[in-house]
Symmetry: C2
């Protein structure tokens, strides 16, 4: 569970809904036992229906998401038919199904906003993709929890297929969020410091690794837990400079830590509430805190003195908006993915701990993804 | 009363104290009845002592600020002797005496950080100033509540003397704060909207007028009070587009208001607490809120969704820091003062409502300045 959104503020409702699944999804008129042979007017060689995890109303994901058979539309000249390979269950997917996320698809909708697919057929005017290519969605809302999909060529972007499948499946949201936050808010140089809470989240783990690859120190704050030492060791193995518990932020010994690295220029906040205020307290004068999540379901509280006399900058980041803002500049997205894939190939960026789950075992996966302290990301394998 | 600062965060303690009064202030060794004739070794024609409002410890201003006679140092080659003409009592002056402000002078100290003085004598190597010039401090900490002062040439900047005395005395803090906040955070164009609370404050009144001169709409939020209509009329006469009570921000009728002007790109926050959160709620997507004061003594609370999905930018502004950041670029300060003086000459920027008080009546003035809902700024006339 992620953002407690009841009031939703959007650039434009139209924009936010523009790429949703309605156009790509036509419910089977034949039900689960449909005989699909009457689709033979299609020139397609492969399946004319697919299996999809569908929800028809908002609510508890494990109650309302059902595996259904849905029609696939014909491939247009600028479309591709893809086979989904793997798709994670992200907190934002859960919130979208619950109806509490900032963007909501028209219902019924297929769940999932991220994942990697393989092109199995291309339309006659498709130039940028060919059969066999791996692709990921350019934007949220494609409905990735399905076996196949017909997608507009320009709704996906190709990915090299020499990276691990789980890395590809989880590349488009968390690592992109981490990379942008580390790049776009402060001019970080080797030796600088970043502090973050939720350091064990998907974004947190990516931030540790990308920062380490750039020579940037990270102070990583996690909630206390029985296996703290084990977690700390794991994050340090990824490149974390320091791993501390929330309560350490409020203790005098935190000062010791700043003897080994400068005060942070940048804070990454995935929690909100007191945790965010504590991050702010340790920022350098003039530094930035960027909020990308609100797991504590509490607002960010900023002392007036920090704003006026310490000149802290309090910002937010949403990778979906970044992608939309750059939708006319594919080079920006391509450059970011290339940088991430290069780190993956060099062994400097691993996928977060994942649990691979067969597509048909989605229900238990949804439950697991909603538990607190989940130590692994659930990834559906199609 | 302004900022509830207990923990103070500074760029550098050294920097913050660098311009303070210690070097300029030597307590009279002769007490209030000192015979000053033994200072005849000075070539100076004018007074060798001056009267100053001094405090020797932090505490309640009306209890601890005393009118004392203090020695004036000799004028160095790069110094000027000035006669203070008028100096306001600002909230930050009060907080400095209370010991709760972000920068604190060495004690004993002369109160006051703003005001206009006239040059009455110049050192042999002074180039930028001549006798008769009006000057204002370049930085906080000069100790302006005094009759005369010997100041380094480069600690002051000249001002045209064809503007009203009260405008000159109150130019360096509030109008500069308003102008910078309207200039440096969002690219505002004629027809755009700014929303602000504390609209009746010195900064608020300056913001109304500068915005109006630039063709920018202002939505001005004030606390409810018996003479609301009178206040509203006064602010509208200055150029305010709308004047509303705090509670109106939370009511549906606020929507009516946005039929006549676009949603604000910029919010100016002098209050904090709920008031600040309400301003945020009405910002355009991607807009900025700039905090310059915290009258409510409550932090700024920002919903996580506003940061992530509405991309609001939460910032602070402190004119003292701006001046220090630009201390090597006098053109920037000069350009700002020229712009403000031009508006004053055109009748587009009036001083806030002021009560002129004789220098010796300072004690009552300090009391008055500390009352809530003060409708006029106390200005000491020397």
């Amino acid at each position: 569970m992620w953002l407690p959104l009841h009031t939703v503020c959007l650039r434009s409702q139209t924009t936010c809904r523009r790429s949703f699944t309605a156009a790509l999804l036509k419910l089977s008129r034949h039900g689960d036992n449909a005989n699909v042979s009457h689709f033979s007017h299609s020139a397609r060689l492969s399946a004319q229906t697919c299996k999809a995890l569908l929800y028809r109303r908002h609510g508890d994901p494990s109650q309302i998401v059902k595996l259904e058979e849905v029609d696939l539309p014909l491939i247009g000249a600028k479309d591709v038919l893809v086979k989904m390979l793997a798709a994670p269950i992200n907190p934002s997917d859960i919130n979208m199904i619950q109806g509490t996320y900032a963007i909501l698809p028209d219902l019924p909708a297929v769940g999932g906003n991220e994942g990697v697919a393989q092109v199995i057929e291309v339309g006659s005017q498709v130039n940028s993709l060919k059969k066999g290519d791996w692709v990921i969605p350019k934007d949220a809302g494609l409905g990735t929890w399905r076996t196949e999909a017909v997608l507009a060529e320009d709704s996906v972007i190709s990915l090299p297929n020499d990276i691990p499948l789980l890395s590809a499946a989880t590349l488009g949201v968390n690592p992109c969020t981490a990379l942008r936050m580390l790049s776009d808010f402060e001019d970080l140089k080797p030796g600088d410091t970043v502090i973050q809470n939720a350091a064990n989240s998907g974004v947190g783990q990516a931030a540790i690794q990308i920062a380490a690859a750039r020579g940037i120190n990270t102070i990583n704050v996690v909630r206390d837990r029985p296996e703290f030492t084990q977690l700390s060791d794991r994050l340090k193995a990824m490149g974390a400079t320091h791993v501390i518990k929330e309560e350490t932020l409020r203790r005098p010994e935190i000062k010791e830590l700043f003897k080994t690295c400068p005060k942070p220029k940048l804070a990454l906040n995935g929690v909100g509430g007191k945790s965010a205020t504590e991050l702010l307290r340790h920022l350098q004068v003039g530094g930035s805190m960027v909020t990308y999540g609100g797991m504590a379901k509490q607002p960010v509280t900023v002392p007036v003195s920090a704003l006026i006399f310490k000149d802290v900058k309090v910002r937010g980041f949403w990778v979906t908006q970044w992608k939309r803002d750059h939708s006319n500049d594919e080079r920006a997205l391509r450059a970011m993915l290339d940088e991430l894939c290069s780190l993956i190939r060099q062994g400097k960026l691993m996928a977060p701990a994942c649990t691979e789950v067969g597509f048909r075992d989605y229900s238990k996966s949804l439950d697991t993804a909603m538990q607190p302290f989940t130590s692994a990301k659930q990834v559906l394998i199609m």
